[in-house]
Subunit: 163 residues, 8 copies
């Protein structure tokens, strides 16, 4: 069974800096570990689902300078269907369920506030099962979810992943 240790965390930290950093460089910067071991550990962490190494596109660089959070109230029994449907849209970057008054939360990326408005009222609002939407513009994201660093206290906890 896979376990993580401090060395894994050091490797992940370097891969958060540059996901394509060569194993040789990682081995050198971590120290006391061979390039082969680095390769093996990365492979294991990826295959065990501990980490994912991925390109992350920056919407602002592709003309999508406005980000909006939208909370959506959905008819009972249509929530899964609506959420799956929303996940397909190319200008929706986030879809999650939420316990509280609203059923589904999404993040929309758009060229400007007019496009947000049109998309929310003309597209999201017309999906069968959507009852109500509430939109807030997000002027700036200071820390994004893919920037979460594994806390040291989590190393030992790694095998208990069931709530």
């Amino acid at each position: 069974m896979s376990k993580t240790d401090k060395t894994d965390l050091q490797i992940v930290d370097l891969l958060m800096e540059d996901g394509r950093m060569p194993a040789a460089e990682i081995a050198r910067r971590v120290g006391g570990i061979s390039e082969r071991v680095v390769r093996y550990r990365i492979k294991r962490m990826v295959s065990d689902g501990l980490i994912k190494i991925s390109a992350i596109a920056n919407p602002k660089k592709f003309g999508r300078s406005v980000i909006a959070d939208v909370v959506i109230e959905v008819e009972a029994g249509k929530i899964n269907e609506v959420a799956q449907n929303l996940a397909e849209y190319e200008n929706i970057s986030y879809v999650a369920f939420s316990i509280g008054e609203n059923d589904v939360s999404i993040q929309v990326v758009a060229r400007n506030t007019q496009e947000v408005y049109r998309f929310v009222t003309e597209v999201v609002g017309k999906i069968a099962g959507v009852r109500k939407t509430a939109t807030s513009i997000v002027p700036e994201v200071l820390k994004d979810v893919y920037q979460w660093k594994i806390p040291e206290s989590a190393i030992v906890a790694e095998t208990e992943d069931s709530e």
Copy 2:
């Protein structure tokens, strides 16, 4: 000046699948493009900030099985300071400003709902300038922000990144 084209998008798509895919394999799968060009294009897109290649850790695999969204009302004039402060916490994975009634939105990852509650009331609630918090548990994320794919319509828009 850097421009993106359909080839860039194909490269990014492959890097979203596997951020460490060798340039040779990318070249082969895209077709009609050399390994050197792939390397050059990746380097350019990263240095221009169009994309970032990074390891993304999965909190659930590190014992953080509960995710919560928290909206925070902050005293005027303390918003930047509070947001910077929040971004430092290792169990906060997202910090953003929000136009509307609440000033700052965060995402918390925790071992269980008791830990969410204690963190929000004992830590977040005590930061100077925080007036009020509202928490919702997120039982499932269907699509995460780093999964946003660059739409084809965005290729031509790439040079107009100012709102």
Copy 3:
């Protein structure tokens, strides 16, 4: 007509400690009262509905570690029916009417937050007459309704039980 006095309160206090405490022990601890009188008084208080002696199961010990409060808005004229319906579910531990904006309040016990979410959206939300639900997770109960102690000031009031 039955009346309660200080002795009754002492008996009830001991029965809140241990509902199966033998009458002999109660008689000894209260003092100046026979075992027979203790038995008679308990019987009378139970038959008059002043108290109920019951086993109370602890949901956390049966894998139900998450408790949630859900307020439910119900279509006029379906409230009684919906409430009766909800009371039948084995993972609903509390059903009450509420004067205000919401018609029915329930408490749900579940294995985890995902189960709460699924139960509220897929089961409660689909009951005919349910219009809207709002859920809050309850991380800890400090004092539960069955721990209410009869105040001394209530002894004389015992015969005026009609509002």
Copy 4:
């Protein structure tokens, strides 16, 4: 390590009917089990915290004919203190923390609506750290928390009591 089985559930069901039912009668009604085993099982379930056997007083029979739910917003850092304080009041029958906008939920039992109002505004509202209260009168409780029955599906889950 203690395990529960179907027989335990049958015993608990009978104890919910009458918490003082003699072990001999329980043995007879369950069948195929001795009085001694019943005594042993009850003792074990109580000492393991699976159940509690207790007298439950009926507030209506003691002149407390009005029940009210009150949600209380508390200053950060005073929540534990306020909750402990509230738990001491004899006319408060329930105190719980709540994830969401309000920090503490309580249930008040009172002689009439005037008493509820006076208690909430003059006592609860004046506790240091209490910022705001919202009260709803509860005209009727259909199912109370101590009436929760252990579902059969929970028998196997009994040993996994950590969230």
Copy 5:
């Protein structure tokens, strides 16, 4: 055209004390005015609609010890009809339109909180056109609308009764 003056106000003040005070006594207490003039002035103020002299029943003395304010959201185009309908109920003591989010406000008098709840959910909630109700119990009325005294500054304004 009728005008009011200070003498009229003195007469109204005495009639608020006792609506059946004999004209002779009023004349004596006001001073410098004949019984006939008092009669004439009362008659004129009543026929001009400046005042109304009426018995006002005290609901508490007729077993209606609970008062509740209910705000009602009504479907567009049904508001007049719903309001007229509500005004017919003998346990509704007040019906008014309200500019804001809710269309109609009423006051209900009832024997107890259960009756308020049943009346609001089973009767008001079922009137065609009623979409939603929100109820608050009124524990005490300190000053009631029929106790409004005409301010001295209003005497000269009496002829401009159109907004």
Copy 6:
């Protein structure tokens, strides 16, 4: 001990029509009852507090053409004081406590909407202990509290005036 009967109700109905209707006319219209008995019954009902006979001034006829409902959130422990204070204002026609989120409800009569605004923000809002106000204009009152008619079902209930 005073009791009400159908005859009392008939008398009250006539006094709601005209509070100064002579006893002789009431006797005649009720029938089978002497003028002396009418006088005695009115006197008894007034002295027992069942009814009050009073002049009711019409604010619209005194230039107060705008009515507004204001709900006021008050600091704990200042509620009685604030309510007593508000009751003194000549343009406040109603003051009541309210169970829910707001502590005190008032009705304001004013010359126009500007005067309502100025009174609420400059006078009510500055009373020590007032935290927040919410105002709604009342364009029309269809049935006023002093028009409540005693229901026949209330006759027998008249002696049980405690909740």
Copy 7:
């Protein structure tokens, strides 16, 4: 005393089309009226305050492409001061009082949503007396206040300008 008639309305309509339309052209297009009369009527309507003739700048043409509505809750007794203060800001285009929960409404014009956010949190939020702000982005204005046309039914009403 000045009166308006149908001819005035025709003149105003033409001036809404082009505020600098020569009097001669207006006379010709209205018909049956001399240039001198047109001049006189315009002068009278302006000096009586019936109309104002003004240049109206289009914020979008000056780089202010984002419009936001902000509702501001203000401490009692500081409302006039805060409103006067806000009216001075060059990127605030509208300041009004509002009866309800919020005291002052403003409209902000800005270069982008980031500027709206910064202005509301760093400038508006720091004005002494401002307690809370709520912002909504306005993606499009379909009809603006200066486009209000005088309804024909208003001609006769012109002399009754007091509420």
Copy 8:
């Protein structure tokens, strides 16, 4: 391509004072500029859409002394249609879309609060697609949108009018 400069701003300022100020007077007051250039610059600014010169009617002078803001929740897919429809009403002076919970904001001008109420409930509320309305009376407008002055910092920005 048209550019604005400080001289343009001076001209606009004078035209905000009096939209019909003769070009000769503007030239004299600005100084160092001919009447012909003033005429040319005004014409260019109007034809480029930088400014509009228009008569603005004052509703209060035409018997419309009450102004109300109404926020309208509209069914998805009917928003444009509803907004176009609303823009046609002669007593609606403003129609805008709004990002948030409400879809369309309007301003109503009316003779009195009764007329506001009737118009909102009987006309606006009945338009197909309108789900809910919330009205606030505006007692005073301190600065109106047509009073927005072009800030000096906007001169250079004038050519970047796309968001």
